[in-house]
């Protein structure tokens, strides 16, 4: 079943035509990795899918419903989560407070103006479960700004998972992580159930091939090809463009 469908998507910044007639279909449960050199328009594509940026033209469907005209927070309500390429967290709050704020986004009582937030026991319990699952429970009382960069990247993902998404857009989740952190990250990502669809922008080829079951190559704003990892590996042109020249390695 197609969960996310991007149809003839175009995006321009004034005269700059960044995304050109992009068509991608993402099936439920897929681990869909988007690769492409810097400046190809990958982050812009995510911003368009999520509604952070308006489209110039085209359509975006989530589970059959058009979503390209609704505000971003409503896309979250409809089951779309995202992480940001640059860490985008509440730095002055603790890990636990960050996660609670994230979980509360789908609670009815988020508009309550009297009862202290810390008194909601369901919030505390869900927060604990999530942090245990992601092996961050020991760090729960630490201020986010004091976390290592890799831990912050992980928290990005935990926050996006807190909203109970059906699909998550992960923008370069491993960028800036140490090799150890990266392998720990891959291990944790593999534990995410198939009920949650993942769309991942990734530069590290090892990570790409250990996670992906579909790969889209974005080049100069065009979705050149969507195929299985094996086909991508076997494709002569892709090999030359990316693997030969090493253009995929992040600067």
């Amino acid at each position: 079943m197609t969960l996310l469908k991007i149809e003839d998507l175009n995006k321009s910044f004034k005269a700059l035509h960044i995304l050109k007639d992009v068509n991608i279909e993402i099936k439920k449960g897929e681990r869909h990795v988007i690769i492409g050199p810097n400046g190809a328009g990958k982050t812009t594509l995510f911003n368009c899918i999520y509604g952070t940026l308006p489209l110039s033209s085209g359509k975006v469907y989530l589970a059959g419903d058009r979503i390209d005209h609704i505000p971003s927070f409503k896309r979250t309500e409809k089951g779309m989560g995202r992480t940001f390429q640059k860490n985008n967290l509440f730095e002055e709050l603790t890990v636990e407070e960050n996660v609670r704020l994230a979980i509360m986004g789908k609670k009815k009582y988020r508009l309550n103006m009297i009862k202290p937030m810390q008194n909601y026991t369901d919030l505390a319990a869900e927060c604990r479960r999530l942090l245990e699952e992601w092996e961050m429970i020991d760090r729960r009382a630490v201020l986010v700004k004091e976390l290592s960069y890799g831990e912050q990247r992980l928290l990005e993902i935990i926050l996006s998972l807190s909203t109970n998404p059906e699909i998550i857009l992960l923008d370069e989740p491993t960028s800036g992580m140490s090799p150890t952190e990266t392998s720990r990250f891959v291990k944790l990502i593999k534990k995410i159930p198939e009920s949650i669809t993942l769309v991942i922008i990734e530069h590290d080829m090892e990570v790409v091939f250990s996670l992906a079951n579909k790969i889209t190559v974005l080049h100069h704003g065009t979705a050149m090809m969507t195929a299985s990892p094996e086909e991508i590996r076997g494709n002569q042109m892709i090999q030359e463009i990316y693997f030969g020249g090493g253009a995929l390695s992040h600067d």
């Binding site: 505000p71 509440f90 988020r110 909601y120």
Partner: protein
């Protein structure tokens, strides 16, 4: 919740016993301080927790004041008068807030100022209600327990509303809606990605702040018996902003301290020297340079620093009396 009750209780006790320790003139002055404290705390909510620096918050205060002054011709019922003051300010907040919260930073500042300027122009042309010269009202507070005419009575009346406002704000900032508001100020993009609608929370805060400023304005008349378009001046809007700043941005109680310091200094220093604006200016510059820190932050800093000197081993567990001053830390 416990913390809010505790700090409110202490504040209440302080207000109750304060007149025993200060001169009659200070009691009189404190009446004004308490009114401005409510006003400043309400601005502190949208500025310090919502990131909405309103230069036109005085519009709500002024509207509350004009409402009570004008309606007092027809009724002396204080519940009706204050209720009307809150209602009118709330209505004005709904209209202006709807437009203002779509803007950020300087644009928010300018839009709120523009609304206030409109009221300034209208009230200065309203010949029937005094125009530029202002309008005198003769109001006496009576909550059903007899008329409040003494300075002491007024002090307790304002004190009651001050403690009530403090308590409500304290509940709000620790409740989900308040935490979301603060999160929105710190990182709006992330909050949207978490499924929160920024406008909802900003609007809620704007309406609470507006109604509270209206209440403060309504109370103000019981002390001054006089309103004038000056309530809608840029000067007034800036003064209350300065109170928030010097008291402590991002805290509930800080702006109240700021109001206290401001009114106190204004009244005392201005009797000693006419350079009062200069002294206020220097104080303001010092605090802005210290970044975000107001009097409350200074007190917190001094107490934690002092505690470290005395109890190097357990500096994090401040005893209760120190926590009173540091009580805003949690919010």
């Amino acid at each position: 919740m416990k913390k809010a009750f505790l700090s409110t209780g202490l504040l209440l006790i302080t207000i109750l016993i304060l007149p025993l320790f200060i001169s009659p003139f200070l009691v009189y002055l404190s009446t004004e301080i308490l009114v401005f404290a409510i006003f400043a705390m309400s601005l502190g909510l949208i500025m310090g927790f919502g990131g909405m620096p309103s230069l036109g918050h005085c519009a709500l205060f002024g509207l509350g004041a004009y409402t009570v002054a004008i309606l007092s011709e027809y009724t002396a019922n204080i519940y009706l008068l204050l209720g009307a003051a809150i209602l009118i300010s709330l209505c004005f907040s709904i209209v202006t807030g709807y437009i203002a919260i779509r803007n950020k930073g300087v644009f928010f500042l300018m839009i709120t100022l523009a609304f206030t300027q409109v009221l300034f122009l209208i009230t200065s042309r309203m010949k029937f209600w005094g125009g530029n010269d202002g309008y005198s009202a003769s109001v006496t507070a009576n909550f059903g327990f007899g008329e409040i005419t003494s300075n002491m009575g007024l002090f307790y009346m304002m004190g009651f509303f001050f403690v009530l406002s403090y308590f409500l704000l304290k509940l709000f900032v620790n409740a989900p809606a308040g935490k979301v508001l603060k999160g929105m100020m710190e990182n709006e993009g992330r909050m949207i990605a978490l499924g929160y609608n920024p406008k909802t929370y900003k609007m809620i805060a704007y309406l609470i702040a507006g109604s509270m400023a209206g209440l403060a304005g309504g109370l103000y008349i019981y002390k001054t018996q006089f309103v004038s378009p000056a309530l809608f001046s840029v000067h007034m809007g800036a003064e209350v902003m300065i109170m928030v700043f010097i008291g402590g941005l991002g805290t509930v109680f800080g702006p109240a301290l700021g109001a206290g310091a401001f009114v106190f200094l204004q009244n005392y220093i201005s009797t000693m020297t006419d350079r009062w604006p200069l002294i206020l200016g220097l104080l303001f510059i010092a605090i802005v340079l210290l970044k975000r820190g107001g009097i409350l932050h200074l007190i917190q800093f001094v107490t934690t620093f002092g505690l470290k000197l005395f109890k190097p081993s357990r500096s994090r567990n401040a005893p209760v009396d120190k926590q009173v001053k540091g009580k805003e830390q949690a919010s």
